[in-house]
Subunit: 425 residues, 2 copies
């Protein structure tokens, strides 16, 4: 650990600048279009525009769609994109490429995988969700249970109670699938995928992990940890663009029998034979549904270029250091200003974000944004800051905490304009 | 009708050029990026690039995503796009705007609406499909029936047998929903939406129309014909770009009770409250699911600009004339060359395409494409040509039929290279 961090004296901007000078990921920032004066800590909501995505989209518009039109499905390989991009995401999540495909939204993919899980575990009627799971994961599970009827129900359990729930012979034996997020979207808590997946399997259930806040943020090891299903987001740490398509993962051992209820033509074994009866494609392709959104796909595809030569271990190492330093700076410089840490202090239990509660959380975040420090607010009172080692600098932490301190000290956030609620928070 | 068409003497290129000179839609071609030497008759597979979409996408990339990042959800109205674009499509399909939203793919939206129909007609277990419906419509229905179990089944009926099927007391009373395409994707046959919807309602069932081959091609009157549900495609006659999002329509009378089983967070009444339980949004918003794909949405949004000041009656009138002339030219100039008309001769029964069968249909289409005449092949032997009055010229018909005649006369299509099968046909 560098001397700067070991030192007992308070941190300075210069010690952080020194970390930037030796940061092996510093070169990656240049891949992104980012204003020099912007402190962007919201890459876990929407990753910034990679320059390569911009160029690639122009090419797809002008040459592929604009000139080559329909023939691009073959000549420019549009038809291959869902699998090809899936194959590029696979190493980021510790998966064999044959198990990953890019299609639809996280929500739609959750529905497919939950439904597939119920078919693989007939007779079990509980779809068990982490109680503080991201809302769409909960809602989709509720929607599926409602559609299936026949006694299907959604269960909710706190992560720390999950093991006991599964060990309870009566309750555990009814669980078909457990749905969890690897990193909690509010608190940033990082779960132990290996241990939890084992306990799910011991109960005879299947494990569905949402990687929205972990893929691209830390090493994920789906194959190694024997995960059954996973979904993840294309527009957060993967920088695929607003509303980018999602990826989904199905373990190879399930691919022969897992049924996708959203049996669209792109999941058919031979879509252009135009046969009457659905015959699922062999392998992961069966989890596709409708025609892939090519513009969105190509943006995500190009965005993956920035990972060339980047090791996720390095990303994680920098993310941990960014988080530790951010927490320390706030403790040193914002003491008594109403912030309470809301993320784990232990980096091993924390994903790639830090957060604090504040009684005026919403208003404070609006004031920070006006001062060019962009994080986000999560109801009811959380200020959340994403850590994105590919483009964040250590000095950004210093500058962010300075803005945070000034906003809190000045109480400017109490001005009426910061109380106006936006539709999206 | 102009003298040129009434004349008994054979058509000439000059008579067609005269029609172009007086065509009120001729000005619209300039909205599109289309090579001068390209005869593009495949706008019913993939509409060409509108120049405005190109410009708008550049703005969204550079300014909205690139500079304003996450705040664009509010400041550039990303959050409003699904409803706003739905509202722009509504007049093209004869619908009140409160009933239309843009989201997901046609396949995913079919699933939502079929599921909603089963909930509105409890006890009825047959999901009845037009036998020669587009495959994804069939497959999705099969997928839903499989997931629901409990005796749900898919029925298939030829359009001409539908009335009898529904009148049969035993069979008709079990039908929850009838799923049809307004225009047959192979033959171009145009169905009588008013009469068929009435006969569906008389049997107590609900009508789900797929407008993929009619929206933007002819006047559609969903509200007037009392349709219950509809879906349609963004990338054919609406020119939204490859894999553009789909639109869906739910009649206002069903909006209070219709349940979307794909209960994603964007269909929630208050998505950013992050509550545990799904509470459907009021109105059509409840049929959204995951985060909208903004790049794809903005392309479709901009593409709708080309409809400003365009009347669908004029579009239909030109489409009919293009079809009649195309059929007549082929009859006059390609006689004895192996083509058999496969679309209705009567324009009132025909959508916005013409087609012929040919024993070497696949190879002939590959040879035509090499000669810059782009239509598509539909298994097993159909040559399909879409008619798109916004950018096609009457002289294009002459030039297309000349290429068709030369390719057929020369038998060039028998050369081995035209037998190589592409993945997408």
């Amino acid at each position: 650990m560098p001397e700067a961090e070991q030192s007992e004296k308070a941190l300075s901007r210069e010690t952080l600048a020194e970390l930037d000078r030796t940061d092996p990921l510093a070169r990656c920032r240049d891949h992104f279009q980012l204003a020099e004066d912007l402190l962007y800590f919201d890459g876990n909501s929407l990753g910034p525009l990679p320059k390569t995505s911009r160029e690639h989209l122009h090419r797809v518009l002008d040459q592929q769609w604009g000139e080559d039109l329909i023939s691009s499905w073959n000549s420019h390989g549009w038809i291959e994109l869902p699998r090809r991009i899936g194959g590029r995401i696979a190493p980021l999540i510790g998966a064999d490429p044959e198990q990953v495909v890019v299609c639809d939204s996280v929500s739609v993919n959750l529905f497919k995988l939950l439904a597939a899980a119920t078919e693989l575990r007939p007779g079990r009627r509980t779809l068990l969700c982490q109680a503080d799971h991201f809302p769409t994961d909960l809602y989709i599970t509720q929607g599926l249970a409602g559609l299936r009827g026949q006694g299907y129900r959604v269960g909710y359990v706190g992560v720390d109670e999950l093991r006991d729930y599964l060990l309870d012979p009566e309750r555990g034996s009814d669980v078909a699938v457990v749905s969890l997020g690897q990193v909690d979207f509010r608190t940033g808590r990082l779960l132990d995928m290996a241990e939890i997946t084992r306990s799910i399997h011991r109960a005879g259930a299947l494990a569905l992990w949402d990687l929205s806040h972990s893929a691209g943020a830390l090493p994920v090891r789906l194959d190694e940890h024997d995960v059954d299903f996973a979904v993840g987001c294309g527009y957060k740490f993967l920088n695929g663009g607003p509303g980018a398509p999602s990826f989904l993962y199905v373990a190879e051992r399930h691919l022969g029998r897992a049924v996708n209820p959203l049996a669209g033509w792109f999941g058919h074994r031979d879509p252009f034979a135009f046969n009457r009866d659905y015959l699922p494609a062999v392998g992961i392709d069966r989890f596709m549904c409708g025609t892939p959104p090519i513009l969105a796909m190509t943006s995500l595809d190009a965005a993956l270029d920035v990972w060339q030569g980047v090791s996720l271990e390095e990303v994680r190492e920098k993310s941990v250091r960014l988080g530790d330093l951010f927490l320390r700076l706030v403790a040193e410089r914002c003491d008594g200003l109403g912030l309470s840490p809301a993320c784990p202090a232990d980096a091993d239990l924390r994903g790639s974000q830090v957060c604090w509660t504040h009684p005026h959380g919403y208003e404070v975040m609006q004031a920070l944004i006006e001062h060019r420090l962009v994080g986000d607010f999560r109801s009811p009172d959380i200020l959340r800051f994403g850590l994105c080692p590919l483009y964040q600098r250590y000095v950004d932490l210093w500058d962010a905490v300075e803005i945070l301190r000034r906003v809190l000290e000045s109480s400017i956030y109490l001005e009426p304009r910061f109380q106006v609620r936006s539709k999206v928070t």
